[in-house]
Symmetry: C2
Subunit: 303 residues, 2 copies
């Protein structure tokens, strides 16, 4: 008993195309349609055979679907929502994979017709690559997928979507959209913002050439360049749509950096040592939770 | 013709023990002595057979050596320097592997007897692990080693040390110590400081539990925990001894974060997009320069 039999995916980049591949692998009898605003992507997805039907528009893609998943940048939700709304059948479940969730409720909720249910979702998974060739079926395996249903959503609807993600190999959590947005500001949005910022700082610094930054990047900087190589459109939209939580956490980040700055200026070695000593436990817990590799240097080094 | 025939390594943690292993692999006829302040480390190095002689003290380790390499935290250089100085023979070359270089000249230089030459060195390589079991012979392969000789050091002395590092698989650069300290502040010290800071912020944030931070760390945060798991003593000393350069760069970092914060607050999507778009080129250049893997997600993902 599959939770859904006809799935439409709007947006076929890294996440959307991974989703198509994962559905194919784990639920091969599901009928898959998909579309993308970029014609080159549609052509490529057709070549790769990732879906049964490549539609020319979001509206055409969702006809007869019992699950519709938006995998487009958050800034495109309003226009995609308006396009699909007239084509959705009653009983259809609309979901997404966006990195901020209250904005999905605010933007998409009012656009959907009566009888169509919205359950926003966020699979906490990805790589720094973009586009349909970057996707792969295992992307969601062992990763968490967070569902943020609004109060009043029938439990059976939430369970049905949870079952879908579980079949793709994900672990599923359910939480309030605003809480999601705060938690992910900490674990995802702020790390990306800081990485983008530091990479920009290093590139533009007087007295140090870009060539030097590249040559000696193995000292730590190269790690930041990986997440800073992520899709700029997607991330612009994350920061614009999760503004409140990001600014709240960023205030704390700046305070904490300033405290370390002060400790360095005044030569307070004990303060530095204490702060630096706390991190290993968190690293260990992440590895133990299966959320990162135990290999030193992410396994990049031959050692 | 080996550049050195008797090498002494003071400090046998990740870097010192990797150095011992690499010398064994690439220059097996070199006589290696080593010591560490921690008796358990000395015992372990003896068990592993990493050096020919495990000495009980730095003074005993350096007798008859023609190359002495300090691989201890920068805060220990003054005491180790005082201990080895009376035992050094004229013609001995003293070097190190510390992450800041002007401090080495300032601290170690005045302690060394006449006829002993100092050429500070910094192999830009490492992992987040510590201790003699974490080392491996390939650590320096393809990585840069930066030599920072003082003006007036004979070129033949610098060439001799460069030859040593080249044989271990490193590429060698020579630069002024103060310039090194600024470049490495950007490419290594600031990334570590920010990573330590963010991990601390996340661990202590109200409204988000530590369990949530761990569960959803695959969104980006987990990357920061790797370098924040590095040795706290080593890093405390880096920040205390490279204070000026770190504070200078940190000022710019804070400015740039504030600029992004402002862009988010005022919804300036174009500014964000522009800043985020610059990073991919730098990532690509780092991969092309052989300083990081081309595999998405550092190769952690099965895709």
């Amino acid at each position: 008993m599959l939770p859904f039999s006809r799935v439409a995916i709007i947006g076929l980049g890294l996440i959307g195309s991974s989703l198509a591949r994962a559905v194919r692998q784990h639920m091969p009898t599901v009928h898959l349609t998909g579309t993308d605003i970029d014609e080159a992507v549609r052509v490529r997805v057709h070549e790769l055979g990732l879906v049964d039907d490549v539609a020319d528009s979001p509206g055409a893609a969702v006809v007869d679907a019992d699950l519709v998943i938006l995998a487009v940048p958050l800034g495109a939700f309003a226009s995609v929502g308006a396009e699909i709304a007239p084509e959705l059948s009653p009983g259809t479940l609309v979901s997404d994979v966006g990195s901020a969730k209250q904005t999905v409720i605010d933007t998409l909720g009012p656009l959907l017709p009566h009888g169509v249910q919205l359950v926003p979702a966020h699979p906490v998974a990805g790589t720094e690559r973009s586009g349909p060739d970057a996707g792969f079926a295992q992307l969601f395996e062992g990763r968490w997928c967070i569902l943020t249903p609004q109060p009043g959503t029938p439990e059976s609807t939430v369970t049905r979507l949870a079952e879908f993600w579980t079949r793709l190999g994900s672990k599923v959590d359910v939480m309030d959209a605003r809480h999601h947005d705060l938690v992910l500001a900490v674990t995802s949005h702020i790390p990306h913002l800081i990485a983008y910022s530091i990479v920009g700082t290093a590139a533009d610094l007087e007295g140090v050439t870009r060539g030097e930054v590249i040559k000696y990047s193995a000292g730590g900087f190269r790690d930041f360049t990986r997440i800073a190589a992520s899709d700029p459109t997607m991330w612009r939209d994350v920061f614009l749509t999760n503004k409140d939580a990001v600014l709240e956490v960023l205030g704390r980040v700046s305070e904490d950096i300033a405290a370390l700055q002060r400790a360095i200026r005044w030569g307070e070695g004990d303060t530095l040592f204490q702060r630096f000593s706390q991190s290993r436990d968190i690293r260990r817990a992440i590895v133990e939770a299966g959320q990162d590799t135990a290999a030193p240097d992410f396994g990049r080094n031959p050692g």
